[in-house]
Symmetry: C2
Subunit: 310 residues, 2 copies
Amino acid sequence: MKIVVPAGGIGGARFLRGLKQAAPEAEITVIGNTGDDISLFGLRVCPDLDTVMYTLGGGINEEQGWGRADETFAVKEELAAYGVGPGWFGLGDRDFATHIVRTQMLAAGYPLSAVTEALCDRWRPGVRLIPMTDDQVETHVVIADPDRRAVHFQEWWVRLRAATPALSITPVGAADAKPAPGVLDAIEAADLVLLPPSNPVVSVGTILAVPGIRSALEAKTVVGISPIVGGAPVRGMADACLTAIGVQTSARAVAGHYGPELLDGWMVDTADEGTAVEGIAVQTRPLLMTDLAATAEIARAALEFAAELR
Amino acid sequence: MKIVVPAGGIGGARFLRGLKQAAPEAEITVIGNTGDDISLFGLRVCPDLDTVMYTLGGGINEEQGWGRADETFAVKEELAAYGVGPGWFGLGDRDFATHIVRTQMLAAGYPLSAVTEALCDRWRPGVRLIPMTDDQVETHVVIADPDRRAVHFQEWWVRLRAATPALSITPVGAADAKPAPGVLDAIEAADLVLLPPSNPVVSVGTILAVPGIRSALEAKTVVGISPIVGGAPVRGMADACLTAIGVQTSARAVAGHYGPELLDGWMVDTADEGTAVEGIAVQTRPLLMTDLAATAEIARAALEFAAELR
């Protein structure tokens, strides 16, 4: 069985861990969001790709959900001692090594997809991880401060904690980006596509903004898992993102936003029992990924749901 | 009093610490060797500049003589886990931050002299530290292996521990390099010049190879402290460097190599009592920099010697 999963960071990575347990024989291709990528200290940082890689490869800081386990922060402390910022982005020493290797390979001319493959040679995540594009896409957010500044997504998300409302969210560069090598082939070859409970705007939405990806996915059986439970995001600040693009923070509204052309099935939590969306089959079950077993159960249900819909 | 000191790494830095104690009111300008500089992991590493900066700024690993105190090696371990080398160059986490800041400033277009000044804003070494040049000079060594390969100085020095004989040592780029801004002015304004017991070939020799520096120094009162005591280098492997350029490992031969045009006075250890060099005044005293007090005494003697010779 061939499965494609367009994924963001923490939510996507945790869902994937459950999916691997639910379908140990499946060939899983993950299309990773790169709109959160940022250059810091001259190094290229790809938070979502790394979260997937570390989570599936056994290197993640479990409590935090991002960054490395057993992490130290000597480099960051020293950079601060030099007065070099930003200090609000928490890069640990082990994590720095990943960005150093990535930056060196990019500078040598390798595309991000090849770099990601090389990094995964070490982590062996058990999935094929491909960035959505090798072109540079950066999500920028116009915020409702007096200057209506456009800031990098990470500045809004990490430094401002999405507390300053977003007036607009734009994946800069997406319109001119091409899917990375292997992305469209993997979608075409897929038996089914699962949309994990990643952020529908700045994770899945950014991937869908790369020309060619959405239409390829629309030709497939796609089942999505709602990231909104009982009118609130399970984790993260997806509500702030949805508000910015004029979509209500509800399981129903997110399904409507993805639309029936993309989604065949939509899984909502029991808290959202009774959700109905025109043109999309809805299934209700507990969706909280409280541990690996519960997550694998959700993934198993999604696979069965997709099989019914094919 | 204005003093100029062309300096390499450990020996130069330790001498400078003694000199600062011996002449607390002096304006000391250090012309730093950059021939040992190397790009590792996409980062620009300047070992001699950093050794001077860390030693005088209180951040040095005292036992080792180079690198940072309280150092950890998470980044290096992770790079090794990625299979990214070289592993033989010991960059610690705190040290990495220096190279990240330097590389970022260089990439932004700042010359190395401005970068060094910015790094020293933090370390406040109590001297003005200027790289010999803002141009790239890298010391390469042709080694006596079957292929007579040319390797970077650091590969010969650190990886091979200078055990494979050097057939030649060349500061590549030196002939086309210009002294960094401030170097010639500092020499011209100097009351005297001290050559610390740095490596006469790959530290002081490289600085002298930048066109304009040697002739500027020749116009000054210059006192050198022999790095060779009793026919052997006090530390490091200067003998292997001297052999490569056809100079004997003796206090007398090194003075002859510098020459009477450059040197006015030459200080040799009591182990080398009776050393005489034509055209150069020789003074004999204990030269082992066993601790700060002994080093300050050597520096004091060098200052008095220079005062007699002016």
